[in-house]
Symmetry: C3
Subunit: 340 residues, 3 copies
């Protein structure tokens, strides 16, 4: 267990850089088409080249990973089914079951409610839409295919376009959620089951195309614009300090809800994703039960990690640190998924 | 004087982290409800637990602070009256009188004008509104309750809502200012009365709910939106280098105006807050005569502090450095308010 | 060649700070009116004071620079004609010819096309406008004078205003480009001709007045707004990791196109400037064939430079590093323009 591995996308550079900084060997599962990119980075010790990421379920590839700890991220979730992830015979950082809850909108909402977080109203059918709503595809698709609607008709107009494009087949693949007006904020947490402590490691907002371009075009020119939410990148943020107390309390409540509903509970990084409305209340519309890409902003550490660590501590490095501490204290069973 | 203290909110983490980095002991006046938050941070040596911040005016609490230097910030200003701050018998970093000028919009404008800064037109009465205006509550309320109006009627509509909510009682509590179109910029300065030097330590923009969400919603869906300016956080910025000369000149003029009007003048951090219009002219709509929360972005230092210091220099740390230099040179009287 | 020099504007502070960090002496060509600003920074060893930057073409000034390497930037391009730059008898970092291609919109597009980059449709005459277009002035003017139009009439309305202001004289000074909806992204590259390697050193977006203020004003109040693109500053960004492969490929293609069309090719920093549309395709609307001001964000290094270097590596410092490596390996001819 002196090697850390991950799939070559999402936050792989951060994860393996952090692993190297903590003294681990690093191994990247890399798609053939991306080899040129990843070989530019000296902290990647070894690459396992595949055609598609889900080849890690095959013995040939998983044999090369079985001596490493595999770090999951958003691309793993969108490349493999939960059954495939479940059957992986590779030491796996974190709680696999939380990834299933993340991937299912109904379970996701159950977990958020159990944590006593405020969530937007959701609608079972497009027939019920009575206000501005955001319509989302099920599964982690990075905001692609999301759209706004405010009644049955505007819903159907957008739905037909997506259907013609082949993005979706029927309305049930869509999740209809009240559009909450407010500024988006992504809270990057890390929970250590070893010392039972929660850390806020960073905060960001997403940079999405084309919704983040609307504000640069005067209203009278906006006829050409439809709102879409394809995540292009991330921008750094700090929060008002008076909001931090509730930020930590929300994180604690979420960690406790995971302990109750998805044992053994949260392990390592997660993210609460929502908006602050004009009264500075946080409405949580999503969570990610693993490292999020917004942490890539803080490869040099964030203002928040700097309050906790006297060295540059990215979330990727924090994961490696946790594995190192677990290994030294013979507590790897507390941070790895054991279902194999 | 080897302890630095502050109230637990606003920028307390930055201030005490900076104090610790400069070798000071650190003391936090902490509201009971926030103890869980602040005890997460190892650089806080001691907490004085209170129910409300204004208990620091009571002997029991102030006795515990009298050996420390107290760093004021925005939460102190909004938690205590100027008379209460004035009577505090605690060594106080900075010039208390500037805080009074900051809290009074008429004095504030007088100081800005004396510094030859361009300020927006203000209106004595809502009857005079003849263009787009921003209406603000008196006092440092973090943007809460601000609204846009363009005539008597739209003013009264918003006014009634705030009155019904109990936020305000009459029109005189409101300050009506021309809305200047341009991009908001907050200039974080530090003035040292010891070496008579001005430093630009960072630049930010605020992240406000819900005005910063408007640009993510197409015009045709904006009926549900009213513009409000509740500060949720801050985002980092750098300026065009050709603007820096005027940035320093504006800072110098402001420092000189403070020397003339509010003796002994500015001490330590302050902020000029405004917009750059489309001709790159800066229109100043506010100042803060003390550390601002936007400096929390730069706990690791900013691009601008890095040009001045070969170590990570937050504004909080810069304050501690100034106290250290003053102490070593027997010049504490130059940086502490002496009205006790 | 142990001195690095540049003109006092744009990114001079970053460039000379980086030079100092790499052990060079530093020399600034400084306009009289800016002396007060630049003498605040201790890493500037010497200032050559001028009335206007183009005095560097005069022997008196150029004699003082002939022992240094001069780093060009945007202000140099907008202060001097290409003939003046060409005739400079000062060791010049980079390929002067690329600056000419940058300054000519037709050559610029030829180079972008040769690199197989997607560019917006351009219109030869305002009579042909059939969609939303962005109208730009020729030359590097920092976004000043840009405007939106969607037909002949809206074009002429804006044109007349600029003509009355004396900003332009006739329509031929304007470049009409399709407005591509998407989020703006500026990709900061560095190409080393010594080791034949491309590095992504940072990513930013511009902060422009007043287009970046539109999104803070509800549609119903926007009548007072015209869209203008005066660059006030820059904001940091990271990109989705899955986009990085194409980012590097685009950079490689651009470097190769420069080798073919503008020999000896690209030397040092350059920037591809465009938008990601809602399908995450990058449409390149500009390039800069030299250091861009957005790199000023990363004086402490960026998330991307941190993946490549174990020390804070700004683009300014990277330039100095390249000169140092070239000098040590007797390869200065690979990185300096030799046309004198």
């Amino acid at each position: 267990m002196n090697t850390i591995s991950t799939l070559g996308s999402h936050c792989a550079l951060q994860v393996l850089k952090g692993a190297k900084d903590e003294g681990f060997k690093t191994k990247l599962v890399c798609e053939k088409k991306r080899v040129e990119l990843y070989k530019r980075f000296r902290f990647i010790d070894e690459m396992i080249i595949v055609d598609r990421f889900n080849e890690i379920k095959e013995k040939k590839v998983s044999d090369e990973l079985v001596e490493s700890v595999l770090i999951p991220h958003g691309t793993m979730i969108s490349s493999m089914s939960k059954e495939e992830i479940d059957r992986l015979e590779i030491p796996f950082f974190g709680n696999k079951k939380i990834l299933y809850w993340e991937a299912d909108r109904r379970l996701k909402n159950e977990l958020l409610k159990s944590a006593n977080l405020t969530i937007p109203k959701s609608f079972d059918s497009y027939e019920e839409i009575d206000r501005l709503v955001l319509v989302k595809l099920h599964g982690a698709a990075g905001g692609k295919g999301y759209f706004l609607a405010w009644d049955k008709e505007s819903f159907m107009n957008n739905f037909r376009v997506l259907k013609e494009k082949g993005v979706i087949n029927n309305e049930n693949e869509l999740f209809i959620q009240e559009y909450v007006v407010g500024v988006p904020v992504y809270l990057q947490y890390f929970y250590s089951p070893i010392n039972n402590e929660l850390e806020l490691l960073g905060i960001d907002k997403r940079y999405e195309s084309n919704v983040d371009s609307i504000g640069r075009i005067p209203a009278r020119y906006q006829d050409i614009i439809s709102a879409s939410y394809n995540v292009i990148g991330n921008q750094p943020l700090v929060l008002r300090e008076s909001l931090l107390d509730e930020v930590y309390k929300m994180g604690d409540r979420f960690v406790n809800a995971c302990k109750r509903l998805v044992e053994p509970g949260m392990i390592g990084p997660f993210c609460l994703e929502g908006v602050y409305d004009e009264d500075a209340n946080f409405i949580t519309f999503e969570f990610s039960g693993r490292i999020v890409a917004g942490t890539n902003l803080y490869i040099q550490g964030s203002p928040y990690s700097t309050l906790l660590y006297n060295e540059p501590m990215s979330t990727g490095r924090r994961i490696a640190r946790e594995i190192k501490i677990a290994r030294e204290n013979d507590k790897l069973d507390l941070i790895l998924s054991k279902n194999f």
